[in-house]
Amino acid sequence: MKKLINNPNRVVEEMIEGYAKAHPHHVRVLEENGRSIVTAKETKEGKVGVLIGGGSGHEPAFMGYVGTGMADGVAVGNIFASPPPDPILEATKAIDKGAGVIYVYGNYAGDLMNFGMAAELAELEADIQVGKVIVTDDVASAPKEEKEKRRGIAGEFFVTKVAGAASEKGYSLEEVVRAANKANDHTRTMGVGLSPCSLPQTGKPSFELEENEMEIGLGHHGEPGVEKGDLQPADQVADRLVQDILADMPIGEGEKVAVLVNGLGSTTKMELYIVYRRVELILNEKGITIHRSFVGDYSTSLEMGGCSVTLIKLDDELTEFVDAAADCPMYVQR
């Protein structure tokens, strides 16, 4: 696939350069490590640092979410590859304000090891307390009984938002971790893939689908899903996604949620709103209240086609955090 790039081996570096230059009032790259980006705004002494990260290729996740109300720092990996411990550790040092740092990341073997090693080093070498919250929202990636095996996908947006807002509110590390873990427990995502992306280095499609096929539960990196089949109308796709979520996390009449309909890269906003339309209808019929909705590209897989639906069940605390203002280069909320 055609890409507007220079050198396939330098896409991440050049993206970060462009990003830092475009938003100098929002973010800065650490001198210590070119893969560590932190907020350019002074954060309060005693504020819990929020650190996110993972492979790149998911923009706006993760680097787009550094800013007030979201993360204080991000470690940026190669495309679809966890960052190594170094940039995580350097960002940790840079954002620690004496109250410790929370790491929010997805449940992938690489992230578990790299963030885990960084956390150990932060505690050993820099005496910084680290709390780890591992996002596991992807319903398709493991059965209910093995939720701890599930991958983290678009739901990471909500978990980051909750961590960011809780830390902004002055919560202690322990409390931020509790709130973020609750957000993760209350969050479920189901996705569908329509067309592949390709890594700049290989140029090969990440998976193969026939011209009239879709795949339910496809991973955020093109990992195979749970079911390949004929492309269905948007309404049926939405039905299926919401059904699978509700079967996994029942939501009762009168309960409250926030909804995220997320585009994987090349899917138009028009399609996302058409999907949203049906999601609203289903939830409405079930008497579930939609408190707030997010429709757009929040976590992509390069130029993959498809979308995911995320529901987060809201109690009063989560409602407050989902509603909190945020100001990041790729995401602003008033």
């Binding site: 190669n78 679809f80 690489g110 991973g219 990992e223």
Partner: protein, 216 residues
């Protein structure tokens, strides 16, 4: 037998080359099971090692230092899943031979034992999970057994590589349980695991250096 820092560097150099040659193949294997980047990741990591080979390590004779530095270099360059795994291998292996510029069969045996045990500890995968452990564990088993029996490291290592090869090939018939392809279920059948393959290539590279040492 004489295995010095020169041979260790020759081994690393040989890995760089075999990874470069097999880059597309490894990515292609990963494309079927995971996210298609294994060859890319390995290449980035080993190119970073190449850079050290060409510069920093030119006059370094401490095998421990070289191996530890290789682990760190690889990890810093790639992160990913295999970064911490292979890095741990080289770090643990390096620890075993710290301060040594010449390695005995015993040293090499300790190096590889620590290398593989380190990866196992880091990744917590087991044989049958369809990972590099399916190559490394049988290789280690054979190495231990054969080295204990014969005391001839080179011979034992060659047999270990053969076991590793069988292990690698066995991943074709396994269901994925770890890493990105773990949800693939039935569809993971028939495809060889990329990490098991790169592990085999690494073992194989070491074997070829051992052979040239012996024949030299």
């Amino acid at each position: 037998m004489s295995f010095s820092a020169k041979e260790l560097k020759a081994f690393l150099q040989s890995v760089v080359e075999t990874i470069e040659e097999n880059k597309d193949y490894l990515s292609e294997l990963d494309r079927k099971l995971g996210d298609g980047d294994h060859g890319v990741t390995m290449s980035i990591g080993w190119q970073a090692v190449q850079e050290k080979l060409d510069n920093e390590w030119k006059d370094e004779n401490d095998c421990g230092k070289i191996s530890i530095s290789a682990g760190r270099t690889f990890l810093s360059a790639v992160g990913s899943t295999v970064g911490p795994l292979y890095a741990t291998g080289f770090l643990r292996g390096g620890k075993e031979v710290q301060g040594k510029s010449e390695l005995t069969g015993e040293d090499l045996n300790n190096f590889w034992t620590a290398f593989i045990e380190g990866i196992k500890e880091r990744g917590q995968a087991e044989v049958g999970d369809k990972t590099m452990i399916d190559t490394l564990q049988p290789a280690l088993d054979t190495l231990k057994q054969e080295y204990a029996r014969s005391g001839i490291f080179a011979e034992a290592f060659s047999k270990a590589v053969a076991s590793g090869k069988e292990g690698m090939e066995s991943t074709k018939d396994l269901l994925s349980k770890k890493g990105r392809s773990s949800r693939l279920g039935e569809r993971s059948l028939g495809n060889q695991d990329p990490g098991a393959t790169s592990s085999y290539l690494i073992l194989k590279a070491f074997e070829s250096v051992m052979t040239s040492v012996q024949t030299a």
